[in-house]
């Protein structure tokens, strides 16, 4: 399930959709990203996420398909919000169901790392009387780069 929405994320509902009555899933891995009240030493009063309607869903679908190609997965849920959010608000949920934990953990991490560098969304921070576009970080590209094909072969079950 892939959703790009303005509304808050229903975490319990996402986990229920992940299981959806299956009895061959032994492991659920979950990540939730939240808005923090500080970024690089500066206070954050609000965070606005802009997205590219249509392309965001398409890219998340492609990343999801790649995860399903690399690991044996039973189900995935990706929900990304857009709009103006406050500190403490949920931004993104990624959840994976698999028979065993290695695939669940690794696929979840892959989805989180990869969507950060590929999904067309942009963050505008408000704080200390300023508004500034968040800059993409080299560390994010490095995190996504860890998922080169050679690295993921080790974790396949």
């Amino acid at each position: 399930m892939i959703r790009v929405q303005r509304e808050d994320i229903d975490v319990a509902g996402a986990l229920a959709a992940l299981v959806d009555g299956r009895q061959d899933t032994g492991a659920l891995a979950l990540f939730v990203g939240l808005v923090r009240d500080m970024a690089e030493g500066r206070p954050v009063d609000a965070l606005t996420l802009e997205h590219y309607p249509g392309m965001t869903e398409k890219v998340l679908g492609a990343i999801d398909a790649e995860a399903r190609r690399r690991w044996p997965l039973n189900a995935t849920v990706i929900i990304h919000r857009y709009g103006r959010l406050m500190p403490g608000d949920r931004i993104v949920l990624v959840a994976v169901g698999a028979a065993h934990r290695d695939a669940a953990f690794d696929a979840c991490r892959f989805l989180v790392d990869t969507l950060k560098t590929e999904a067309p969304l942009w963050k505008l921070e408000e704080g200390a009387g300023e508004r500034r576009w968040v800059a993409a970080r080299a560390a994010d590209d490095a995190a996504a780069g860890r998922w080169s094909t050679a690295a993921t072969v080790r974790s396949r079950r």
């Binding site: 923090r36 970024a39 802009e50 398409k58 950060k116 067309p120 942009w122």
Partner: protein
Amino acid sequence: MPLAMPADDAMRILYFASVREAVGCDGEEVTPPADVATVAQLIGWLRGHGRDLEAALGEAAHIRVAVNQVVVDLDHPVTATDEVAFFPPVTGGAAG
């Protein structure tokens, strides 16, 4: 300032985030001449019409481009009815 009359057979340009703020609009329809055949040539043609797409990004970042919602390199071809989006490097997902 419109660069072309709106038409179903025009090229649809979209601008996002700091690129939108630098250009001053979120999108427009254009009809570049036939010799504008690649993304790089389109960027140059837009710059010649007052759309400096890279002004907001500075030296540290390069503009990203998607043609029909697929990220492409600057040498990718563009055709008359494509949707071409220009944006900064993406920053979705969680903060950490």
